[in-house]
């Protein structure tokens, strides 16, 4: 059971870094979105410092959203998903394994590149550490919630836009508490309360999403 689970995770990580390497493309997308903001709002340092945290969070949400459709799409098309459904490993565990792999191949690289972008956006130095913590705690929820949208739209031909419409409203709490944690960190109140809320969102989605996504996958495989 255990080895099966890890083989699912390893396989997805391998695919993420292979060939066209979707992971590096997601990171590139993240950087480009962040670069667009100084062009859009003007290069004034104080303005950039003010919006830096929000920009990085929104760009991370979008980058995550962009990579969601690959979680199940390819496996659904080539029949791997059918084999998963027939295997002894419950679909719920496969969903967890795939979200873990998705987090390792998209969110983690984004977090690693964040300090560089923080410098580019002239972000307050005191904000960096809370931002990294908040991203580490909050981004797993993005992958988990994302599997719901990915599994619901897996059998649709043009599911991409619908996927964003379904998932982005559910990302709102992560964004709110993610930004609040950093703001509280800068102002000296301490970001613990918001980080705990973020952790609650992540744990809650960890408890709910595997069941929802597995149910949606069974529906798609019918």
């Amino acid at each position: 059971m255990n080895t099966h689970f890890w083989s699912v995770v390893k396989r997805d990580i391998k695919i993420g870094w292979q060939g066209g390497s979707t992971s590096s493309m997601v990171v590139a997308f993240f950087i480009i979105v962040v670069t667009l903001f100084p062009l859009g709002v003007g290069p004034e340092q104080s303005v950039l410092a003010r919006i830096a945290v929000g920009v990085i969070w929104v760009a991370a949400l979008l980058a995550c959203l962009l990579s969601l459709d690959r979680i199940f799409q390819a496996d659904y098309e080539d029949g791997t998903l059918d084999q998963y459904a027939l295997s002894r490993l419950p679909l719920e565990l496969i969903v967890i394994g795939k979200s873990l792999a998705h987090w390792l191949t998209t969110s983690l690289p984004l977090i690693l590149i964040t300090p560089v972008l923080a410098v580019l956006l002239n972000m307050n130095d005191a904000a960096l550490l809370p931002l990294i913590y908040a991203m580490l705690i909050g981004t797993p929820a993005l992958s988990l919630i994302g599997t719901i949208g990915a599994s619901l739209t897996v059998s649709l031909k043009r599911g991409g836009v619908l996927l964003s419409l379904l998932i982005l409203p559910l990302y709102v709490p992560v964004l709110i508490f993610g930004v609040m944690a950093v703001d509280a960190g800068i102002s000296g109140i301490g970001s613990n309360a918001s980080l705990l809320f973020l952790a609650a969102v992540t744990l809650f989605s960890f408890a709910i999403t595997p069941w929802v996504s597995a149910a949606a996958l069974r529906l798609a495989l019918d």
Binding site: L165, L166, I208, A216
Partner: protein
């Protein structure tokens, strides 16, 4: 159904007339507060419709009853319209009172998110051709989105922001004068019956639509045979 229609019209006329013409002016806000007779019932209905949709979806998933799916589907556009109405009347009131049409306050934001949830739900029905499958997928979407309901209800208590806290449904009784409370309650009843009436009409038309489609398919088949 005619009975529902009758109750809707009567209570709507009584509630709105009482609220808009008879109820006393507020000592601070003057007559501008009268928008609550539309705003409060429609906000309440925007949440109620989603709750109804979620319950109907749950029934549809558990007992696989097609009527439950159809009622959830029929409720969505009504709820979306109530949400738009609540946001619209709220911003009209906000301009003279808060000095701005819109503010990123907790309750306003979560109500806006609710609107997007309605859109997502309706988009699912539009995107999937197979009716039975669309019903299952839409039901999952509705249930997942239901997480937002308690957030809207309690947002005003959790985040201390501009929108005033609950004044009707709270422990210790309503903090609103009976002269204003009664027409408000009648308006809420009216909006509820409006919802039921429109819901019944919509479900009926959906069923008729399905029957027409079935007949059309049969006609084409018979033509092919002949």
């Amino acid at each position: 159904m005619p009975w529902c229609f009758f109750v809707t019209v009567t209570s709507m006329v009584v509630g709105l007339y009482w609220g808009l013409f008879i109820a006393p002016e507020d000592y601070q806000m003057g007559s501008a507060y009268r928008i609550i007779f539309v705003h409060v019932p429609s906000s309440y209905m925007s949440i109620f419709c989603y709750g109804f949709m979620a319950v109907a979806s749950a029934v549809g998933i558990i007992w696989k009853h097609p009527l439950a799916d159809q009622s959830a589907r029929a409720a969505a556009p009504i709820g979306a319209i109530f949400t738009v109405l609540a946001l619209f009347t709220g911003s009209l009131w906000g301009k003279p009172m808060w000095g701005t049409y819109w503010i990123w306050d907790a309750r306003l934001t979560s109500e806006l998110v609710l609107l997007f949830l309605y859109f997502g739900y309706m988009a699912v029905w539009g995107a999937i051709d197979d009716r039975a499958k669309a019903a299952r997928v839409a039901a999952i979407v509705a249930l997942v989105g239901a997480v937002n309901l308690p957030i809207i209800k309690f947002s005003v208590d959790w985040w201390n922001t501009l929108h005033q806290p609950a004044s009707i449904m709270k422990s210790g009784g309503a903090s609103i004068h009976p002269d204003m409370l009664w027409p408000l309650l009648i308006c809420i009843v009216a909006f509820n019956f409006y919802f039921v009436t429109v819901l019944l009409v919509r479900i009926e038309s959906q069923i008729i639509n399905r029957q027409i489609r079935g007949l059309q398919i049969r006609m084409v088949e018979e033509k092919d045979d002949g």
